[in-house]
Symmetry: C2
Subunit: 338 residues, 2 copies
């Protein structure tokens, strides 16, 4: 079956200059997928013309007269801009025209619009933001990364189900392991909410590993790490900040004088291999999980390469049938507790 | 005035092999400080003899017959081992013999014993664990790192006061800036507790910067970052894990083949400079703040260099008079709200 992905071409820091070429790159590598480019028709067709892609097969353009700004309050975007490129892309998923959508726009607005238009899956109270992070063993899926700041134990259980289902749908892992992010000191092991969540996860039928600590994330201890959105957002941004600081330090040391600069030239292939391996663009694309439709959020600053990765993630989720799997798994759990 | 520091020589992964030489290193560089080495007399004097330091001036030994194990439940250590080296070191602070103490032992036990023996300062409900982290601009103090997992807004205010007072006492900064760790999305900015804490911090008379996000920590946006202990512990361990992963990646890339190994030899001075700059041993020593006595916790795996750094931190806090300053500041705030 040909899958169709709707692409909000106006979102992100760069808009159509990045999103349109990224979409073309993706389509040319993946001819069995159709794309609908959503946004200002003029801007999109101008980009397509520049790239000699006016008559690209598997490509459609859907005009949308408005654009959600990166700093626009979500409520304003939701109520005030019914014809935004973001809203139209999500609508295409809602009405079944597209199997998934991608946007590099404002996260809060995308979540608000997606929730309003698509609604949540049965038995899922809150959608969560799930990203992939690199680890020593490969990669791991972490959720929630900031959609929910006051979570209950039930929410964490639902995050566990959604994360595990995403991994099994997209990566063909039968029983992905799920870790619950906690802290390690003996007599104060976690707050009440996390303790309850551990009990629910134990009883869920998931491959629940138990508690993991912050360093287990990059260690790759489990396939999925579950935490509340406040903690997840802090750990993600802290990681970004630390990686940036270490990169700056390394650059500064290589730039210290003529000798160190020369050694930098000699070490360039190694440094480049290291950079490729830790390139965050390879992990671009956060899934808004728990909705009745697949929505992937690209980093706002994504370049052509990174945005293409996010498109791929959305298509992979549609191909893996992640939504049906989440619903099946949740209904089994609900029966178990009923 | 000669300051005296009590050193739990039995704590940590290495015990007296590391703690005794580290203490000697410190005393030889800082002749105006006295040290009391606490623990098994035989083990300590054997180490001193090895180091030709039997008759070291400014050095005393205080025998303690028991040792708290690294994995011992804090309650057991507190109730069952009244003559542990950890307990005796804290007692020396309590009775005024020492101005501060240092231990590389079990964090939970050290906190439980310190709280029981020393009690908290007036108007401080909970002690917090505060560490220094490197930043792009220098370093920042982060608390709480795991002592308290269910914090109220008032606790966060107290952490802010303690952190700011520590910085002004130890670093002679008049009005250190205090940031409140939060997450950045527009309509869900933080949970209720953090919102209330922001109001309290605004009204506190501290140099309150406002909300900071995870990446602000290593950016060095503020002198102090305040968060609850669950979040702080996760961000600290996540950072450790990420730094370890990146270090491993870099090493692997340099070890890939003969050519990359050769370039590693050429780049060695740069790599070593980078390692020195990011060496976590330079930041060893977490302060247990809010007690009626100065207690510093060294990393359990600390080596001689790292443990010496932790001793220095304890002495600097005693010299800066941090406890009196916290009490003064808290009583001003209490009067303001009364």
């Amino acid at each position: 079956m040909h899958l169709t992905v709707a692409i909000d071409c106006m979102g992100g820091d760069h808009g159509p200059h990045v999103t349109v070429p990224a979409a073309l790159d993706y389509l040319r590598r993946t001819p069995e997928v159709n794309a609908i480019l959503v946004g200002q028709q003029d801007a999109i067709t101008a980009e397509l013309r520049k790239l000699n892609a006016d008559a690209e097969p598997h490509l459609g353009v859907q005009h949308a007269s408005e654009t959600v700004n990166m700093d626009e309050p979500p409520a304003a975007a939701l109520r005030g801009k019914k014809d935004s490129s973001m809203r139209v892309a999500v609508n295409l998923v809602k009405d079944g025209t597209a199997h998934a959508c991608v946007s590099a726009g404002n996260t809060g607005a995308l979540m608000a619009i997606s929730r309003f238009v698509l609604k949540t899956l049965p038995d899922i109270e809150r959608p969560a933001i799930c990203s992939v992070l690199p680890t020593l063993k490969g990669h791991t899926y972490v959720l929630d990364l900031g959609a929910n700041v006051d979570c209950t134990a039930e929410h964490l259980l639902q995050f566990g189900v959604m994360g595990a289902t995403l991994v099994s749908s997209v990566e063909n892992k039968e029983q992905p392991s799920v870790g619950l992010l906690n802290i390690g000191q003996e007599d104060i092991k976690g707050n009440e909410m996390v303790k309850q969540a551990a009990e629910l996860l134990h009883a869920s039928g998931l491959n629940f590993y138990g508690n993991v600590e912050g360093d287990d994330i990059y260690q790759g201890t489990t396939d999925v790490v579950v935490c509340d959105g406040f903690v997840g957002n802090v750990l993600l941004k802290t990681s970004e900040g630390l990686a940036r600081m270490l990169g700056t330090y390394l650059r500064e040391e290589f730039n210290r004088n003529v000798l160190t600069r020369l050694s930098g030239v000699v070490a360039l292939p190694v440094i480049n291999a290291f950079k490729r391996r830790t390139d965050p663009r390879r992990y671009n694309g956060a899934s808004l999980l728990g909705l009745r439709g697949i929505v992937v959020k690209s980093h706002g600053a994504a370049d052509r390469f990174a945005f293409r990765v996010a498109i791929g993630r959305a298509v992979d989720e549609a191909r893996g049938g992640v939504l049906n799997h989440i619903s099946e798994r949740m209904s089994v759990i609900q029966e178990g507790t009923a």
